[in-house]
């Protein structure tokens, strides 16, 4: 566990948070009265099946979705609307296609009114941090998917966010690139030490990255289990093949399968029969 003292910024509190999506008769609860607290500097993965509301929950912490009940707080300030102190990284294709890589990364500083030369210099430093020195003048369309995600991470980090919110950032990458990006993220995080909330449906990814995994239930999303990952850092390939890793993986798989069965049961199919097909 990488604990930072309580007074360091980046503490996230979610209390009794419900989120509703859709309009009119189609409105439904995507997240139901979720509560948890993340100490500053912790790397937390939100793990759950597709459609469980984990991205919705992240969207509310980012400030893009309003709370139906409860709320989310960052360092005891209630979250209303998006802000650069809560950096959000999406799955793909959210770089500005009309800006060169260096200006994409420098964008947050431009919004703060930092001068062109200074913000470009800072952007170059961050591009170096994510291993993209030399690609400053490219347009996003000229980069591969993995490179684009590196730019996304650099673009968010330039605002020195207190918390980094990542919405399945590597889900669209091939397995090899994803593995490289996971290691890169841990390397970057070991240097910037912000709080990280990382949404994924990939069990291996969650156990490899996180200090702690919050396993979510099927819709409406609730926290099903709060799993601590008691592995040291830095983590490498050994961790992926350790007994402890496999034990945690079995536990997560059991939880996920459970949720799958409950989802089938909820749709009126015999739960036992649905379970037999998994």
């Amino acid at each position: 566990m990488t604990e930072t003292p309580n007074d360091a910024p980046g503490r996230v509190d979610v209390r009794e948070l419900s989120i509703e999506l859709g309009a009119g008769a189609d409105r439904f609860r995507a997240v139901e009265r979720v509560s948890f607290a993340i100490p500053a500097g912790q790397f937390v993965c939100l793990l759950g099946p597709s459609g469980c509301g984990k991205s919705t929950l992240l969207g509310a912490v980012a400030g893009h979705l309003p709370a139906a009940t409860g709320g989310a707080w960052l360092d005891d300030e209630k979250i209303f609307g998006p802000a650069p102190e809560r950096g959000l990284v999406f799955q793909q294709h959210t770089l500005f296609p009309w800006k060169r890589v260096v200006d994409n990364v420098a964008f947050g500083l431009k919004m703060k009114g930092v001068g062109r030369a200074e913000r470009r210099a800072r952007a170059r430093e961050l591009l170096e941090l994510v291993g993209l020195a030399g690609f400053e003048d490219k347009y996003p369309v000229q980069l591969s998917g993995g490179m684009q995600q590196r730019v996304e991470i650099a673009r968010v980090l330039i605002n020195r966010p207190r918390v980094l919110l990542m919405d399945e950032p590597f889900a669209a990458l091939d397995a090899q690139t994803r593995w490289v990006m996971q290691q890169l993220l841990l390397d970057v995080w070991s240097r910037v030490k912000t709080t990280v909330v990382f949404v994924t449906h990939d069990i291996d990814e969650a156990i490899f990255l996180a200090d702690r995994i919050l396993v979510m239930s099927h819709r409406p999303g609730r926290i099903r289990e709060d799993l601590a990952i008691p592995a040291g850092r830095p983590r490498g390939q050994e961790w992926l093949t350790s007994d402890e890793f496999l034990r945690l993986k079995r536990r997560c798989m059991a939880l996920m399968r459970d949720e799958h069965e409950r989802a089938f049961g909820a749709r009126g199919e015999p739960a036992a029969l649905a379970g037999a097909f998994i």
């Binding site: 500005f96 296609p97 919004m111 990458l173 091939d174 690139t177 449906h201 291996d204």
Partner: protein
């Protein structure tokens, strides 16, 4: 990693290919190879025109008796080139298009961005525009003559009306189509208020806006020529119509060709300008280093 993979497979982390530059050279070579056939086709058309007009071909429903042959048109073109009236004709047409198109571009883009992004703007601004939109610009001519004290004003107005709607509609479409995730990302990075327009909506809509400007430039010339025929003193449209009334038939064709050249030239200029404004969009087709 064994768990569920996204089926939206993306490009891998491998270096981007450099094949596109070679593709450009090959395209150029192919264009050169095709040139003779295209020139031949043009030459045959000229010959047919020469033949039909010199024979005064009469097909019953259409007659070439009064159509000047190419050689006479060439002479008329030479005469116009030497004429002191060429520049007043050209400059008045270009000025009318310039003012009308310029005003349509400014207003069309500004209104289009607002309507495309704001429900309030859509509800207040769009209904009157929707009523006016189906009316062809040419149908405005009589009313425009009554509304504007100077005939210059009415002609500029006609070109403005002609260019406005293609620009407006393409801008609205472009602004609506800006990816919601780009807007969300910009807001998360600290973008507020009008800067969202200047930094995200306008550049995101830029390729559509360029399309609108290009179409608008075409309709602009179309409307201008018609307006000049009826209400002009100088201008290419006026020259063409005047040639008919004074029975200088070769000049009619010179006027027609001149209008074609000017229309094509200004459309190319708009597209070039658009390409300069949207360099990322040019790369999209083939990424190259």
């Amino acid at each position: 990693m064994s768990a569920v993979r996204s089926d939206r497979s993306d490009r891998s982390d491998s270096a981007p290919s450099a094949a596109a530059t070679a593709g450009g050279a090959r395209r150029r070579a192919r264009a050169v190879a095709r040139l003779p056939l295209q020139l031949l086709s043009l030459a045959i058309c000229l010959l047919l025109w020469q033949w039909a007009s010199s024979r005064q071909l009469h097909l019953g429903f259409v007659t070439f008796a009064n159509v000047p042959p190419p050689a006479e048109v060439l002479d008329a073109a030479r005469a116009l080139l030497d004429s002191p009236k060429l520049w007043p004709h050209l400059s008045s047409s270009l000025a009318r298009v310039g003012f009308g198109f310029g005003a349509a571009a400014v207003l069309g883009v500004a209104l289009g961005l607002a309507i495309g992004r704001s429900t309030w703007a859509r509800l207040t601004l769009l209904p009157p525009l929707e009523v006016l939109r189906p009316i062809p610009a040419v149908a405005w001519i009589p009313l425009a003559i009554l509304m504007f004290p100077s005939s210059e004003g009415s002609m500029v107005f006609i070109t403005f009306v002609g260019a406005l709607f293609p620009i407006l509609l393409n801008t609205i479409h472009g602004a609506e189509a800006v990816d919601a995730r780009l807007v969300a990302a910009a807001r998360s990075l600290g973008t507020r208020g009008l800067r969202l327009f200047s930094e995200v909506i306008a550049p995101g809509a830029a390729p559509s806006i360029v399309t609108g400007l290009s179409i608008g430039m075409g309709t602009c010339w179309f409307c201008l020529v018609t307006a000049e025929m009826i209400a002009g003193q100088y201008g290419i449209g006026y020259y063409t119509w005047e040639s008919y009334t004074v029975q200088a038939y070769p000049n009619i064709v010179v006027g027609m060709l001149l209008i074609g050249v000017l229309g094509m030239g200004s459309s190319v200029a708009v597209r070039r300008f658009g390409a300069l404004l949207t360099p990322w969009y040019q790369i999209k087709g083939g990424r190259h280093d």
